[in-house]
Amino acid sequence: MARILSVETSTAPGPQRGGWVDSYDLENPDRFDAPGGEPADPVLVHQVGRGSPEAFEALYDRYSRLAFTIAMRVLSDEPAAEDTVQEAFLAIWRRALTYQPDRGSMRTWICSIVRHRAIDRLRGEGGRIRFELPLEDSHDEPSLSDTWSEVAAELSRERIRDALQALPVEQRQTIELAYWSGLSQREIGEAMHVPLGTVKGRARLALNKLRESLEGREESWQTT
């Protein structure tokens, strides 16, 4: 089975992305298993929850690029994206103790907070809803420095992009409108001029196909 470095493979505390740690111990926060001795995410968020601004600073430095990228992807507006990221991280600072490791990785938690706030801002600004597929635009940004983690992430990035590009266009559009524009099932149906049942079917097929591509399995798939 192919190993995806960027996707959490377990919802329980355990293997972290990039092979950093296999376990963590909140009672012994000095046990750092990550390269360079950096604390693992659960350790960091635990320290943030205990009011450590230094831990928060480390958390911000670890995830600010991803958070800002997500906000820009949704909003396409730098000042609005900055506001969204600031609001999201201040919420994380105030509510770090609400994070539950058994419900998903810290990375997924932060991405979710930022994306939902960005979509709320987008929807609240009079429905500036985009119907285009700007997925291709993501190739225009320059890549970052070539540390080993960035190289590994770049390989994963390309793999995920390839998997998305392999989807039938209507399935890819369904994901785009739902995930990045926050449209409801009904709004997606109206935008694509298809019934609700077709929207649900395309969403299921798209995620199944993506899952199979990312897990390296080859199976036939259907289009609608």
């Binding site: 900055e82 225009d140 940004e141 992009r161 299921r204």
Partner: protein, 245 residues
């Protein structure tokens, strides 16, 4: 929706859930199905992991350095941490209260000068005095350039508010003749008018001295109001300051 849905139909709803668009009316029937269907629970988990990979397709963008400074200033201010601060935070805080402007605040009153100079000296060479507390200005979305801090001295039960990045009202078109009014906001109560921001005698810092124990309030805010102020806020909010400790 009836509970007798097939696993394929449930999968469709799980896909919508993973993408964040499951109608709330359907969440209960999905939850009931997952209670007794291990296969669909595995599918739900797989769909969540797959959707979580979508942001990984993006080329990362570097956020502005000003965002980092603003955010960390707010966090360090509210945390009360004084053991160690990143050197850029100290440098930026010092730049916001340069000596020339600190002396300008002295002209406002002897009490204000003692508080500001005490905080400035402590910030530069030693951890801040235990008594003085600093709270960061959080700009409103429409006025992102606003920044500054409120320094409260419990020994004198007074505060000095310094803010910069605010538009000059004298030359702000339709805002000419208006003032920046400062409000103390209690938990669950009406804002209380507290002061007006004085225009900067030199440089770009607006200042106000607030007497009394501001820590009895939840937050501080400032709005643009007609000359002479108002009894309740009517204008646009420029910034806020959380007094949570």
């Amino acid at each position: 929706m009836a509970d007798d849905l097939s696993c394929t139909e449930i999968e469709e709803l799980l896909a919508l859930a993973a993408l964040g668009v499951l109608p709330s009316a359907d969440s209960a029937v999905v939850g009931r199905h997952l209670e007794h269907c291990a296969a669909c629970r595995r599918t739900a988990s797989a769909f969540q992991r797959t959707a979580a990979a979508l942001p990984e397709s993006l080329d990362l963008l570097q956020p502005p350095a000003a965002l980092r400074r603003s955010l960390l200033t707010a966090v360090y201010s509210t945390s009360g941490a004084r053991r160690r601060r990143p050197s850029n935070i100290v440098r930026d805080a010092w730049r916001r209260i340069p000596r020339a402007r600190a002396y300008a605040v002295v002209a406002v009153g002897a009490v204000a000068a003692a508080v500001v100079l005490g905080v400035v000296t402590a910030t530069r060479s030693n951890p801040a005095p235990a008594q003085a507390e600093t709270f960061a200005v959080i700009p409103a979305t429409a006025y992102p350039a606003a920044s500054g801090e409120l320094v409260y001295d419990p020994a004198t039960t007074s505060s000095v508010l310094t803010v910069h990045g605010l538009p000059d009202l004298a030359s702000a078109g339709t805002q000419a003749g208006r003032v920046y009014e400062v409000w103390l906001i209690p938990a669950g109560g009406q804002p209380v008018p507290a002061a007006f921001l004085s225009p900067p005698p030199m440089g770009a810092n607006w200042t106000a001295v607030l007497t009394g124990d501001v820590l009895r309030y939840r937050s501080v805010a400032a709005t643009v109001e007609p000359a002479g102020g108002t009894r309740v806020p009517t204008g646009a909010q420029m910034f806020s300051i959380s007094l949570a400790r």
